[in-house]
Symmetry: C2
Subunit: 211 residues, 2 copies
Amino acid sequence: MPVFVPELNRSARKRKLILDAATQAFLSRGYDGTSMDDVAALAAVSKPTVYKHFADKERLFYEIVLATTDPMSKLVGLVADAFPDTDDLERDLRAFARQFISALMQPDVLRLRRLVIANAERFPEMGRAWYEHGFERALAALASQFQRLTEQQLLAAADPEMAANHFVGLLLWIPINRVMFTGAPDATSDAELTNYADAAVRVFLRAYGCS
Amino acid sequence: MPVFVPELNRSARKRKLILDAATQAFLSRGYDGTSMDDVAALAAVSKPTVYKHFADKERLFYEIVLATTDPMSKLVGLVADAFPDTDDLERDLRAFARQFISALMQPDVLRLRRLVIANAERFPEMGRAWYEHGFERALAALASQFQRLTEQQLLAAADPEMAANHFVGLLLWIPINRVMFTGAPDATSDAELTNYADAAVRVFLRAYGCS
């Protein structure tokens, strides 16, 4: 039986309250628009409590951004589970493309993307870590799928990393940029997203298909 | 002969000084990191002079962002001048892709991109205007080229807008995102950029070529 440690539990609970409040504040107001006072008020804890857990705003920000590579882990899982023993690659790629685009177009994922990009020049370590643990990890998982499909002679991707890059670029260039520039997460309708997914798969298979 | 109007000239000159100083400040420090005091100091004018020309920081910011769709006009020109009467589309597309990628990877263009994205949710009108006058204009110019090439039976792009979107996505997805996330404008070497350009053209022609 676990020993009951109320102090530790309380401390962990407060830490979580602070992280949740800070995530919400950073995502909606940006780095500069968020103060440690705001975080304390939103978390309903005192300011010294915030500083007990996080030495300064910058460290709190790093922790939050790196915690949010978690949604990327889900995406990597989505990639890893796609098209096992496929007997219709076009159909399975299309299903995957639709899931992938809709996972990336979630408002909170898009807000996080904006937050990282906005602060990447100021905090290059944070940006690089996010790029490597998030962006590149999903791309690497897709590349290893394309390599397997090429070994099975279902695809002809001599450079699977470039093929993964091309697949995602075909799929996301317009919808992601439209949100990033216009600030409207719903700027592209679900029907348009499906259309982008299907068009990307068509073009990808024309370029990388075996038939 | 033009009448000499020293007062007007002086005022226009000061306005230009302020715009240049503000552009530099916004690009390097962001919207929140820039104050009207900073702008006045950088332009070596008084703060009331800044306010005489620009009612507030927000209006100054809009004006600067929209003025910087000018580099996009150059890009549109680059697109419009590409492959006239081509007798080797692959060679000409490759030359164009290399020019296009290097025009978009200029540090100031990338900084502007970050600045617009960072503030798009807060100032959606500014973001939308930039997207329409900048991003979409270049894409439309490329689409009209692809339509012409399709009419000449050099390309098979039934949907020229989607083809333009695909061309640019194949080309820019990795190099642009790498800079946006890592904050390092030189994260991709010139040799890598050339490699991305050539790979994009190869894949594009496999999908949209006539042969």
